[in-house]
């Protein structure tokens, strides 16, 4: 769709300068997501018939105001560290880091790349040197000024092996030793090889900008909309950063994030008004509150996806016909219905839906048990037994796997569903078992490719698929400064991926949010629920 193309329009400038305050609420409202709020009376499951209210209509009547406290219930994942570069992946960490620290670029609710601490990033003609201009007038939570030194320090720290940062491989193309400050608000980032989509990389979650020299983060000093007041393993308290660089925001005085491990307890919390909202909500949870008039339900049609991966280096998945049979044995509608209440985008074994480089003209693969059976047989797998490993780690993970196994059996694939305890999935299943599940939040097509499908990618070993022709295409894509050409190349790559790839991408996550009626400022985000974690946009409804 739109997104990056807007920014790519200026010649030589990959990124459009964004004026101060351009990220206003009004603009957000204009570009609101495709799907509206499900009214309080409508059921999550028969929303087709329910009256949906357009976000403009809903929000236009309410003026945002300052003040108030919002309590968010989250099942705290494992561990917590205020160091944004090493913080584990648990939602509580991501939300805290995202709101205490800032990235240079971030995705808005449509997925469009927007400048945050940077105002622009400009590459030279062969995309080997990037010049990043920084926003002026930004201050750290301790009152000191934000400068290029902070960014230089942060990027070097991320890449430094001693830090053990989670995002190190995301910046593998950066020649970190030679990152250089030009002036207080400008720096130069040299590349190891031509790389034209650096801003996309910089918008991923591990790229938080920390203060120059920061080693310990108790308390964390960031530039984000909120300051950390306190945080332990059960409760995180954030308060408004009055000097936040987006004027007028945030609205809330305080945000309390509490640990409620049990999903049912979280939902009970919203239904009884103890929690204002929770994250995440799955289809089952949303269904259980569908008729509750005290709860507002939002459905975010996101670009997050939960593919089933096949390790292409392992029998029977080494045979492309086997992989195709598996894709044909997938009843995407059923999986979408059970896991996403029928509200997610149906997947066509490719990622990057809604991006400009996504091929929309490829025929949708649909459930064809007969053809699947024939292909599976042709690949010589009639008597092969396979195991599908799942866990209850991610929303919809278990339900989608359960449905898949049921449907695949009907297509003659002898599959057994195996469930691992959630906490052992990462270590004992993911990348170990040849057929299991993966979870990817939104990132651009090329960033995704860089993380998983080049032989030197961090997660390549999980599926071991990456034919030479796609590797060549990838090099071309990141080497070109022409966005149109780049889109053409990614379309070609994804077509190959669709035909031969190791992923069964059966759908994109419809992520419901539920709120108590006092909360306003909700938006539909195609990135993730809870306004894509942009807590600065929430406010308390005036009485």
């Amino acid at each position: 769709m739109k997104g990056t193309t807007d920014m790519d329009s200026q010649q030589g400038n990959f990124i459009e300068n964004i004026k101060e305050g351009s990220l206003s609420r009004r603009q957000i409202l204009k570009t609101a997501g495709a799907l509206g709020i499900v009214g309080a009376t409508g059921s999550f499951f028969d929303s087709a018939s329910a009256a949906t209210v357009s976000p403009e209509g809903y929000l236009a009547t309410i003026k945002p105001r300052r003040g108030g406290n919002m309590t968010i219930g989250i099942g705290f994942g494992v561990g917590a560290s205020n160091d944004p570069h090493v913080s584990p992946a648990g939602d509580q960490n991501v939300i805290r880091n995202f709101n205490v620290f800032n990235l240079l670029f971030w995705n808005d609710k449509t997925g469009a790349l927007k400048p945050a601490l940077a105002t622009s990033a400009t590459a030279n003609s062969d995309a080997t040197l990037w010049t990043i201009e920084l926003r002026s007038g930004v201050t750290w939570h301790d009152g000191s000024a934000f400068t290029a030194d902070d960014v230089v320090y942060s990027l070097k720290r991320i890449v430094d092996p001693a830090t053990n940062a989670l995002g190190a491989s995301t910046l593998a193309m950066v020649d970190a030793a030679n990152i250089r400050k030009i002036d207080n608000l400008t720096l130069e980032v040299p590349m190891k090889f031509p790389f034209s989509v650096l801003p996309d990389q910089l918008a991923t979650k591990g790229m938080s900008i920390v203060k120059d020299g920061a080693m310990t983060f108790d308390p964390p000093i960031g530039t984000g909309a909120f300051k950390l007041v306190s945080g332990d393993k059960n409760r995180i308290i954030l308060e408004r950063n009055n000097n936040f660089w987006v004027s007028g925001m945030p609205y809330l005085d305080m945000v309390t994030i509490v640990n409620v491990m049990d999903a049912t307890a979280r939902i009970n919390g919203v239904r009884t008004g103890i929690l204002d909202t929770i994250y995440p909500v799955d289809a089952v949870g949303a269904a259980s509150v569908a008729k509750d008039p005290k709860v507002i339900t939002f459905v975010n049609k996101t670009r997050t996806y939960l593919p089933l991966y096949m390790n292409a280096a392992v029998k029977p998945f080494a045979d492309v016909r086997a992989r195709q049979a598996m894709k044909l044995a997938t009843d995407r509608e059923s999986m979408n219905r059970v896991s996403y209440a029928g509200q997610g985008y149906i997947g066509n074994d490719m990622f990057g839906i809604l991006d400009s480089g996504y091929p929309t003209d490829i025929k949708q693969t649909s459930y064809d048990p007969e053809k699947a059976k024939a292909l599976w047989k042709a690949a010589g797998n009639s008597n092969v037994k396979i195991e599908l490993w799942t866990a209850d780690e991610w929303p919809a993970q278990q339900s989608s796997a359960t449905v898949w196994a049921q449907q695949a059996k009907k297509a003659g694939i002898n599959v057994t569903l195996k469930t691992s305890p959630a906490d052992q999935f990462d270590s004992k299943v993911y990348g170990v078992k040849p057929f299991s599940q993966d979870y990817w939040n939104y990132r651009s097509i090329l960033t995704m490719w860089q993380e998983a499908f080049n032989p030197d990618s961090e997660y390549f070993k999980v599926q071991n698929w990456g034919p030479e022709k796609t590797q060549k295409l990838y090099k071309q894509a990141v080497g070109t400064g022409d966005p149109k050409l780049r889109d053409e190349i990614t379309k070609e790559m994804l077509t190959i991926f669709h035909n031969e790839g190791p992923y069964i991408v059966w759908g994109f996550q419809a992520s419901p949010d539920i709120y108590t009626s006092r909360i306003a400022g909700q938006e539909n985000s195609s990135v993730r629920g809870l306004n894509g974690f942009h807590l600065e946009t929430f406010f308390i409804k005036p009485l």
């Binding site: 560290s81 053990n164 409620v260 009884t272 305890p421 052992q424 270590s427 004992k428």
Partner: protein, 322 residues
């Protein structure tokens, strides 16, 4: 009596020692590498090595043990692998949050939940148990028996859910989840725990009291014309108390399990929640500390019960003194 106390304490300490050893051995010999478990999807050989170093896994087991136990004796259970800036052993300079600091708050919360429930449980089971033993066969007795049985049949996770529906949805007077420790927030978790445990304890108290009522000295006291009230207060309860306390001590084991489930159900910020998440996150130092704390509860409860028995039974007291 002093010598008896000394002996009993020695036994308790020995039990504690055995328990800690067991915890250490149990946690360290469980299959699965804590380093990869902690790091999950992002494990690299370097990160694994640094975690192993932080945990001291590269040292011989006996050295790990002596190290751990000497620190544990000083209530130092090491540092968390998953909490704090230096968690995950990413840096040599900083370590994760101290385990004692990490579990301190939740321990207090659980102590409140558990002791309020236990005290209430003791009061309720004693009064209902004594009453129904004294009025055997009456309608009230049958009622107590029936309700005891009814609650016996409902596990915590069912009863808790039903209680939430009753008192937070249909009759919304109490919070459905208990995010912090206030009297109002304690009501439903405590109610759940007490009702679930009551099923068995009331019955056991009743049986215990009936045993005492059958004793020769109670019959004799009646025949000496001692008033009924006095018989209950002076003859029945003091003699029923020791065996009944034994019941409660044994119930602590069950009780701790119940606390874990109830905390989970109500989102209560206690060690139950902490234990489950630390176990699932393989934060071994934290798991060890929790296991020691939970085990201690039982040892301490038994110790307390023996003390009560000692104080209420002059015969034992005399033996202990001699």
């Amino acid at each position: 009596m002093g010598r008896y106390l000394l002996r009993r304490s020695a036994l308790a300490i020995a039990s504690l020692f055995a328990l800690t050893t067991l915890v250490f051995v149990g946690v360290n010999f469980l299959p699965g590498d804590p380093a990869t478990a902690v790091l999950g999807k992002s494990a690299t050989p370097e990160k694994v090595a640094s975690i192993q170093k932080a945990l001291g896994l590269n040292k011989p087991i006996w050295e790990m043990y002596t190290n751990w136990i000497t620190h544990a004796l000083q209530l130092d259970f090491g540092h968390s692998l998953t909490y704090g800036t230096g968690a995950y052993g990413y840096s040599d300079a900083v370590q994760g949050t101290a385990v004692s600091e990490l579990i301190g708050g939740s321990l207090k919360n659980t102590a409140i939940l558990a002791s309020v429930s236990m005290i209430l449980l003791i009061i309720v089971s004693l009064s209902l148990g004594v009453y129904s033993a004294m009025h055997r066969g009456s309608i009230a007795d049958s009622g107590v028996q029936f309700f005891g049985l009814f609650f016996l049949g409902l596990p915590e996770f069912v009863l808790g859910a039903l209680i939430i529906i009753a008192f937070a949805f249909y009759w919304p007077i109490l919070p459905a989840i208990s995010l912090d420790v206030t009297p109002k927030n304690l009501v439903l978790p405590v109610l759940t725990l007490v009702l679930v445990m009551m099923g068995s304890t009331v019955r056991l108290v009743r049986v215990g009291v009936i045993e005492v009522l059958k004793t020769n000295y109670v019959v004799t006291a009646r025949l000496r014309g001692i008033p009924e009230r006095r018989i209950i207060m002076r003859y029945v309860i003091p003699n029923a108390i020791a065996p009944v306390m034994q019941v409660f001590a044994i119930a602590t084991g069950l009780f701790v399990g119940g606390v874990v489930v109830v905390e989970y159900l109500f989102g209560y910020p206690g060690i139950g929640t902490g234990f489950v998440s630390a176990a699932s996150g393989r934060d071994y130092p934290v798991v060890q500390a929790y296991a020691v704390v939970l085990g201690c509860t039982y040892i301490v409860a038994n110790f307390a019960v023996d003390l009560i028995a000692l104080l209420t039974n002059p015969k034992m007291r005399a033996k202990a003194t001699s």
